[in-house]
């Protein structure tokens, strides 16, 4: 297990409106599964944004696989993101292309060979059980299927860590269990998972590590 693959130290960040993070400390090791739990507006999504560097901390720092937010240039950020797999609550699939192309896009930006793109994309789609819907457009799929497609896009490039932002928030209980099973399988293969959720019930029944966040502060 790779220690300290993600490290957030004394991070503070304020949005122009006043919300943000006050004092965040978090560490995720390679292969670990961590729940980031807190109520709506507690700062869970902002913590994930710090990790994929859509936001940079005003104070403190974030390190992702050796890349430090206080030293990184804008030009380097895309290359950090290629080591991550991001799953959004609202799926964020590309509406202008089919599911195969949605998943393959992540590999195309890296300049992967067409043969590898096809092989890895089909494997990721099979992993989430969507091989038969690869030619469908995102709008033709149900919510659960769209989230599975989004997970396929997140895992296709074998990321070091999956960042899942409330991935089951808009789904029914049965579909939510399916999504959690897919994340578990990815974790079992060695991919670290950091899942933000406000579902305390889910967390209480889990044996995985839990980090709580409240009013922009992670609790010890």
């Amino acid at each position: 297990m790779k220690n300290g693959m993600i490290k957030i130290r004394n991070a503070r960040m304020k949005y122009p409106g006043g919300d943000g993070l006050d004092h965040v400390n978090l560490e995720v090791a390679g292969g670990e599964f961590v729940y980031l739990v807190g109520s709506t507006g507690a700062g869970k999504s902002t913590v994930l944004k710090l990790i994929y560097m859509e936001e940079l901390p005003d104070a403190g720092y974030v390190v992702v696989d050796g890349a430090n937010s206080s030293e990184i240039s804008r030009r380097e950020i895309p290359f950090v993101r290629r080591k991550l797999g991001i799953i959004f609550q609202d799926f964020r699939l590309f509406e202008d292309r089919n599911i195969f192309e949605n998943v393959a896009f992540v590999l195309r930006v890296t300049g992967a060979r067409p043969r590898d793109i096809k092989k890895k994309t089909l494997r990721a789609l099979a992993e989430v059980g969507l091989s038969h819907k690869s030619r469908k457009m995102a709008s033709d799929l149900s919510g659960g299927e769209q989230q599975r497609a989004a997970i396929a896009r997140a895992i296709v490039n074998d990321p070091l860590i999956l960042l899942a932002d409330e991935p089951t928030a808009n789904l029914d209980p049965k579909t939510s269990v399916e999504i959690l099973n897919i994340l578990d399988r990815a974790n079992a293969r060695g991919t670290a998972v950091l899942m933000a959720t406000h579902n305390y019930e889910l967390v209480n029944y889990s044996s995985k590590r839990v980090v709580s966040i409240k009013n922009g502060r992670t609790l010890p």
Binding site: Y52, R81, D96, F105, V109, T110, G111
Partner: protein, 289 residues
Amino acid sequence: MMPSLLFLLKEGFVGLLRSRGSALMAIVTITVSLVLIGLFLIVTLNLNEFAENLKKRLEVTVFLDDSFDEDKTRRIREHILALQSIGSVDYVSKEMAVAEFREHSERLNVDYLEVLGFNPLPASFRLHPVAEFLSSGGVAEIVQQLEAIDGIEELDIKYEKNLLPLLESRLQVIVAIDIVIGVVLCVGALLLVSNNVRLIILSRERLITTMKLVGATPMFVQAPMFIQGFLQGFLGGIAAAVLLFLLTELAAVELPDIVAVGAGVYGLVVVLGILLGFSGSLTAVRRFL
């Protein structure tokens, strides 16, 4: 590894098709602008050609004193021919001058020579300057060189003094008007292409943000926009070149001698279209992406 160029090209083409309404408007604007610029260019080239033909007819006449013998006339001719500014020299004897005079004064029905009883017309040299000296400055230099020749005085030299300055000033005005109109049309087309790309960017904002979040570099996101701008400019340029070709072919039926357009003009129109399209998208991408 670099992203596949083929994939980026495909993204550019597909993006253009998706926004075909506004893209068509940008292409039409580029076409209209380029056709107008092309027409001005063709008219200017023709006027320039016409002016050059007029200039070629310019002659400098050096009148010779009646007292000059054959030997002196020959020496003056040799001096003139030695000048690099002069291409050829024609000698017009007193008799030839009379014959020309009679030809021109036929309508008057009076033979002045018979009345006068002698030939008052002097012999002369008609000088044809080389092309490089066919300008007001060039001819003034020729006059200076001629005055330095023994036997030629300022009053002996005659030429159409007003022709060249007039042609030059008129051409300058026409070229200035061309430039102003060309710049105005280019800026208009550039703004429209830029606005079209801006609309594409705004309508795809969420998509573009997600692309960046899954690891796309700014260049990967921008390249299809540049390709779209390039394609709009290229298509506008091709359409303008075809229209200009048809217009000049039509005009050639009525004015076979005047309209003469080389392939270079059509090439220039296409290149200008590409530059317009590309710069338009570059402006929008720099500002909004």
